[in-house]
Structures are given as C-alpha cells and as structure tokens.
C-alpha cells in the first residue's frame, strides 16, 4: 500500500520583500514512487514548492510560512538541511552554477563526503553510478570542459550518490539541447525504476510525457488542475495552448523532422538571392590553430575538416528573421561570434548595402544579445545603457526607443533590478541605439514559459519589420514556428542544405 512520502498541508508562503512566486493555501500529497510534474507559468509557484520539499524554504530563503510540510516523516521546518541531504536530492536549473568541485570525480563524491561516509563506500557508490549512467567518458575530467548536457548528467550523478528517496528537479532542461534532454529523460526513468519519488518542475513537457504519473498545473500560487498521464495525453494542441503550456506535439514533430534532416522552415540556402541581401564571404575559423612562428596561417576552404567554421559564401535576406539551428557543438555560437566580429582571427567579410565590412568594422554592423544578458549591461540606469551605445547621445531618440519596447517607465531603474525579459529588452534597446543593422540572438528563450516565449517571438518579428535583419540561434521549435521566416542549419561548422 503506497503511503504518502510528501505531504504539503495548507501551505501559504511569501518571499521576504517580493510578491513573486508566492503560494496561497496549497495542499498536495505525493505517494512514494510517484513521478509528478509541476507545471504552469513563470511565477506560478512551482519553484517555491520544490524549495519547500528540499527545505531551502525556510532555511535558506526567508519569508512568511504557514502550514505544514512533511517529507519522509520529517517536518521541514525543524529539520536542518544537512539532515535532509540523505532523503531529498535536487537537480537545479543551471548546469554551470550547481557544481562545487572542479573535476567530475570530486563532484560525484561531494555529497557522500559531506555526510561523512567512509572512502570505500564512496568509491563503491561512484563506480556503481558511473556504470549505470554510462559516465566513463566523463570521468577524470575538468567540469569546465564539459558541455551543458554533460554537466547536468554529472549533477544527476552527484545527487544519486547520496541515494535519496526523493529527487527534485527544478527546470532541469532549460539550458539543454535535445540530445541532452534524452539523457536527462533516461536518468529520470532510471530513478523511477529504482522506486524513487520524483518531482519535476518544468515548462518543456514533451520529453516527460511518457514518464510522469501525475501532472499538476499551477497558476498564481494555487493548484488549478491535476491530471493523470493519460488524461493529459488526450489533450489536443489547442487545449494545451489555452493553458499557456508549451505545445507537446509540435516540439516532438519538429525534433523528429530535424533529426531526419527534414527542416520545418524555409531553408535560407534554398532561396533566390536578392540584390539587397547581406552577403557573408570567407567565414573560416578554427579554435585550435596550428602553431606558427611569425604570421598566422590565413585560413581558407582548403583547411577543410580542421575548421570550426567553414562558410565560403552566405546570402541573408534583409529584414527577416532567420533561425540558426544545429546540435550543441555544431558551430552555432562560433558562427554568431564570427559574424559579430568578436573573433579576430576570422577574416570574413560582410557586404551590406554596397558597403564592405571587414575586421573591426563588423562590430558596428552587428549587435549580439547574449545568452547571459547580465554580461552586457554596464551602467546603473536603463537610459544610460542606451545612451552608451549611441555615437552621439540623444536623449529624445533614447526615449523613443524605450517606449517602442515598452520599457520607458523603467528609464531610471538599474538594469539589474529588472526581470530577465525586461533586461533582454534593454539589450535590444541598446542594439537599436547603436544602429546595428544585423541583430544576433543567442538562445533568447531558454527557460522561458510559453507566454514569455510568445512575447520574444513578437519582438523579433517587430524588429524585422522595422528593417533589421535578425539571426536567432535557438533550440526552441515553437519560437521558430512562430516568428522565423527562414532556417539556417549548421553542422560541423558548415551550412547544410535540404537534400
């Protein structure tokens, strides 16, 4: 007879100093061995529930808590976090910032070391987990060398090492590409088979469809719906969209097509070139260059397989949104960086509007909104950010730009005080202020819920309509479907055409 391993009774919670993510009288029971999915819009309270179960609330995050939370017989309020470590394990959203060690072996052993297990036992657990999760190729390496998906795998291993009964995952797929998500799915399947209770907070649902037993939908701090796996599977795409959830079938179909080489958009390579196209020529780049004495060897197409980027010629349509897709490591980021002019050693040339842009001039033509927008915000007010980009400071024009993007009211606020979406807009405002003609976006929707993703899509469309050419590097099929006119596919540094 399955008992409840997690009991949340009439819990209300409000974070100190914030109205976001609060809970209003929530009650939830989860049975031992169940796999539960928590979903809903950003700020609906999903993460707050995760934090209640693993004890970060109230021991790490302060706020007003009422109600009871009992996990495996322990009252979360009176149990210290280190006593919970053997019972509840959490895999967090960002692979980059959840590891404590520098190397993979150390990371897997981290948990057991903390609770004082004997070295023999730790070694035994490590080798069991490595075997089960097929971690051989990752062992003995620096975590900084690994890809996002590989890091997330190690994070899962590290959590497994403590052998907890309950495993929580907080938006674990946000920064992963599709292959990495398959690996994640396998890890969850394994935990399920081991009889563990798994609770996942997620926006992207397609990879969990077959695994979950129950789906809980939250809205504004309350549980609004509960469905079983089959009930949810019966929904059609419209019903899913109504709930503002990311469409399950669309994502699956897109990924199917992509894997089989059938692209779901117009391939940018297949169109007829126009006169006002932006033309990229001679984009060659390699990360590991051969050692040289005085002059760097000028790269060309003859360098073939050594090249990380190999694009002899590419014509981009002006004023359109072009998606840049490809597996992780295929060269998407390299491509964006070279186009932007950040890689000095890439001597590619861009022709636009009868002007030729070489070397440093390329920096003026393009502007990139990075995946981590925080790295490109430097000043203490939104207005200053935009003015910083302008050759000649023009406050009137700045106001114009800000109001077009709907952030004029935040003019004097510090950029870091804004939400992620608002920060993105500040970066875009700076791009417009810099009068860049080519706008590059690196994964702008990773981790966003459906509603926010739609907003980004509309924004990109507006930018294209105003005459900018937009390149978006993305894994998000829904985004591509929504706003991209063309698709550019990169594999191993080369552009792939439809067969």
């Amino acid at each position: 007879m399955m008992e409840d391993i997690i009991e949340i009774k009439n819990v209300s919670f409000k974070y100190k100093g914030s109205e976001e993510g609060l809970l209003k009288d929530v009650s939830l029971s989860i049975k031992k061995g169940e796999t539960v999915l928590l979903t809903g819009a950003s700020g609906s309270g999903k993460t707050t529930i995760i934090r209640l179960i693993n004890g970060l609330i109230p021991h790490y995050y302060q706020g007003e808590l009422s109600g009871d939370v009992v996990v495996a017989g322990k009252d979360i309020r009176t149990t210290e976090l280190y006593d919970l470590a053997g019972t509840v394990g959490t895999v967090f959203q960002n692979p980059r910032s959840q590891f404590f060690s520098v190397d993979t072996d150390g990371e897997i052993a981290f948990g057991p070391e903390n609770v004082g297990l004997a070295p023999k036992e730790i070694k035994k657990r490590s080798s069991t987990i490595s075997r089960e999760m097929k971690l051989e190729p990752l062992l003995g390496r620096s975590l900084f060398e690994l890809s996002g998906g590989e890091k997330q795998k190690i994070a899962c291993a590290s959590v497994s090492a403590l052998m907890p009964d309950v495993i929580l995952l907080d938006e674990p797929s946000s920064n992963l590409d599709w292959n990495a998500m398959e690996d994640l799915k396998e890890s969850i399947a394994r935990w399920k088979a081991e009889g563990k209770t798994v609770v996942i907070s997620e926006h992207r649902l397609w990879y969990l469809k077959a695994l979950v037993d129950r789906i809980i939908y939250m809205n504004k701090g309350k549980i609004e719906h509960e469905w079983s796996r089959n009930e949810f599977a019966a929904f059609d795409e419209n019903e899913v969209k109504q709930l503002k959830l990311r469409p399950v079938k669309l994502e699956e179909n897109f990924i199917e097509n992509f894997r089989n080489g059938r692209l779901s958009g117009h391939n940018v390579v297949d169109r007829d070139s126009q006169k006002d196209d932006i033309v990229l020529k001679d984009f060659y780049f390699a990360y590991d260059q051969k050692p040289y004495f005085f002059f760097k060897h000028k790269l060309s197409a003859e360098d073939g397989d050594m090249l990380s980027l190999n694009i002899p010629r590419l014509a981009l349509p002006k004023g359109k949104v072009i998606a840049v897709t490809g597996r992780n490591g295929a060269g998407k980021s390299t491509f964006l960086r070279c186009v932007c002019g950040l890689e000095k050693d890439c001597k590619g040339v861009i022709e636009e509007d009868n002007q030729v842009y070489k070397g440093k001039k390329r920096l003026k033509l393009s502007y990139m909104v990075m995946q981590d927008v925080n790295h490109q915000l430097f000043t203490d007010s939104v207005e200053s950010e935009v003015l910083l980009s302008m050759e000649k400071e023009d406050t009137a024009r700045c106001d114009e730009i800000l109001s077009e993007l709907g952030i004029l009211e935040y003019k004097d606020k510090h950029p870091m005080a804004l939400s992620g979406g608002q920060k993105q807009r500040v970066a875009i405002a700076s791009a417009i202020g810099a009068e860049a003609k080519l706008l590059l976006f690196d994964e702008p929707t990773s981790g966003l819920d459906f509603a926010h993703m739609e907003k980004v899509g509309e924004l990109l469309k507006d930018l294209a309509e105003s005459g900018k050419t937009v390149l978006v590097s993305t894994h998000d099929p829904e985004l591509i479907d929504k706003c991209c006119d063309y698709v550019l596919c990169i594999d191993r540094g080369k552009i792939i055409a439809d067969d």
Partner: protein
Amino acid sequence: MESKKLTPKDFITVGIFTAILLVVEFACGILGYIHPYIVASYVVMIPLAGSIPMMLFYSKVEKFGMITIMSIIIAIMMFVLGMGYLGAPLIILTGVIADLIARSGEYKSFKKIVISYGVFSLWVCANYFPVVVTADSYRQGLLDEGYSVEYCDNLFRAVNSKTLLVLLVVCFIFGCIGAFVGKAAVKKHFEKAGIV
C-alpha cells in the same frame, strides 16, 4: 535566532570574494613585470581596484571570522604560489585586526569599515617582504664582497627596508580612500539594484 556561527554560505562567500581579490592582485602583479618601480605602486593600485569587490564583501559580512579567514587564505595562497611565508604573520594579523575593528561597529558603521579596510589592505605589502628580506641579505652579501654602498642602494632603490615603512603608510591611506571609492560604486550599482 541569530547564530554567530559561520555557515557554509558564509564560507562560500569568503571563497568567492577572496578569489576575486586574488585575481585583482594577479592582474596588477603582471604590470610589475614591465618595470620594477611599478611594483612599488601596488600599494596604490590594489587597494583601489580591490575596493569595489571588498566593499560589496563588507556589506555581506555580519559575523566575526569571515575577514579573518579571508586573510588566512590569502596567506596560504601567497605561500603556495611561491611568495614565501614571511608575509603570513602580517597578513593574518592585519586580517584579525581589521575584523575586530569592523566588528566594533557591528559591521555596519562606515567609519569603522573605512579603517578596517585600510588595515586589511596592508596585506599588499606582504608582496614586498621577500624582496626586502632578500634585498637586505643580498645587500649584505654584496657588501661583504666589497661592493660600494651606493651600488647596493641603487639596486634596490624603490623597495628596501627603509622605504617599507613609507609603503605601509601609503597602503593604509589608499586603503581608506579605496573604501570611499568602493562604497560609492556599491551604492551606485548594488544598492540601486536592490541586491545589497
């Protein structure tokens, strides 16, 4: 239930800011290879450049021990990186004193923090200890072999045991100035953004 015991989060905070401070020291240190006289200007550059992260650190310190541990780690790192252990007593002593001074103001009084950071900054002078001790014994060795006094003085003009006292004072002063500079930056950004 205010606990005065240091938590893992405190240790991690100390680790992060110590890393940043060491990076600042390393970045400034590289400039010293260009010209030995620049080495003397470490006492100006490092307290100033390091003031921004340190003032942010101070705003997070609420318990005794964090500043002390930071100086212990700096001493350890200096040793491991081959700069000797002569500076260790200076670094740790100034760290403890800085911690005590800041504590007397409950880690909130800015006046006390200015002085605390001034004292803390003296760790920079530990960079000179190997040179000074070396210089003195080297100098002695040269004198023993018959070189003139002028020659020896010329050799180590910028940094020797006589100028060390001056450097310590300059270091302290720029530490105090740095506190104001750093605090202004913290106010401008971190307080405005609501992070502090």
